[in-house]
Amino acid sequence: MASLLRLPALSGTKLRGLAQLVVEGRGPYARAFENLILVLIVLSVASIGVESIPALPQWALRTLRVSEIVIVAVFTFEYLLRLIAARNPFAFIFSYQGAIDLLAVAPFYLGGFDARWLRALRLLRLLRVLKLQTHVLESVVEERTRELQEKNAALEKAQAQLKAELDVARSLQLAILPAAFPARPGCQGAARMIPATTMGGDFYDFIELPDGRIGLVIADVSGHGVPAAFFMAVARTNLRELAARYGDAGECLAQTNEALCAQNPLDLFVTVFYCILDPQTGVLRYANGGHNPPYVRRASGPIEMLDGAGGLVLGAMQGIRYPTHMVQLLQGDRLVLYTDGITEACNPTDELYGAHRLVDEVHIHGGGTPAALVERICQSVSNFAGPTPQSDDITLTVLTWGVP
């Protein structure tokens, strides 16, 4: 008797380990066992329903009775395993789950009354499974969220890098614009380029020609972004080089056009107004490759638009000739070159700034220094646009001649 009592005591730890493996473990055995129990719970509850069908055949009743015995046997076995596996068996017996599990089988042994409906309580265990599933779902969601956050962080980093590079490109673009107008007695010039939010391709240039005359360029590359900025750099370099070699404005544009057509993989083009001022005489010779015609504000008051517009933009087609036109500047006259970023600036109601507002500004404020007029016009466009983002580069150059 003592040996019989000792036997379970000796292997108690081992037995408890095994029981724990089955009812508390996370391995495949525990999961299979758990699933088996859940299926039996559902079957046992369902059998109450089946049994309530009147006049069941004898074989069905017998099957139900046998299945009841098997189910109770399995439940009892499970109850015992849990009891063994529990660190504190009493705590298990009086726990919520322990009580329900006991209630689910006890009536069978006590006999006399059918308390299988009590097993419906065991359906609560299904909730545990659902809870487990929810937990799994939550951890999947958490995992995905973390992955997304990581990817977002990587994207943000890449975007910041790209933005930094674009900023560098934009400062380079601004840096190649001349800082000051060449010093000549009686001549003053001022210019401003305000790049749009997306990188654009406007530029202006002052070129000191070998014969002492001054070349002035204002230009607008089609499109936006890095391609436009590159094309701008190519156009500006070509024009600068060719201006030194070709003293005639039209010939210089024609040569620049050939050069640009020969190296234009993206089919971009650029509108260019190029003029050459003789600071001694005030004679201005110019050619226009598709650019908005500039204005001359006469010292006497009238504002004239320079004719000779309508030449083809540069880079579009080879073999184009550009006629050179001439205008005589008189003492105190102002020349105003601009790009369509000014006239096509929009206000919040989608109205355009328009040439008439520009002409008004030139008319009213043209009497001061070129720098003051540039400042005045930029301010006027900015006031007009208000909160509307600037969609195109704004470029403006003003020149006076014959002012001591």
Binding site: D220, V221, S222, G223, H224, D267, L268, F269, T271, G289, G290, H291, N292, P293, A309, G310, G311, L312, V313, A316, M317, I320
Partner: protein
């Protein structure tokens, strides 16, 4: 910008409506290229600008590329019925010197007949 295509016997008309700017230009360019590379090539391509309100430099580029592609395919290409503001853009940029611009669609259709241009 909206694009309508009308296939007539004499020519296929492309009718852009609204603003042809940096964002809209690729759709126009694609539509013209599809016309030129499709199975039933049109006898001519006419851009009807009656409903075109604005053309940016990117829009001009798209028209230029369309004209070039048509020239390569040996198909007449022309613009017609441009609104005054759009016409001014084509004139200032010099594009109306290299691409035919007609006052209305009837004239464009008459002039676009191969061999009669």
């Amino acid at each position: 910008m909206n694009l309508r295509i009308e296939a007539l016997a004499e020519a296929t008309c492309v009718i852009p409506q609204g603003r042809m700017d940096f964002d809209a230009a690729p759709a126009f360019q694609e539509a013209v290229e599809r016309l030129l590379s499709g199975a039933g090539k049109p006898a001519a391509v006419i851009i009807d600008g009656a409903a075109l309100e604005y053309v940016s430099s990117a829009g001009l580029r798209a028209v230029l590329l369309g004209a070039r592609a048509a020239q390569r395919a040996g198909i007449p290409f022309a613009l017609c019925a441009l609104q005054p503001a759009v016409r001014e853009v084509f004139d200032l940029s010099g594009f109306s010197r290299i691409i035919p611009v007609h006052p209305d669609r009837a004239t464009a259709l008459a002039k676009a007949q191969p061999g009669r241009a």
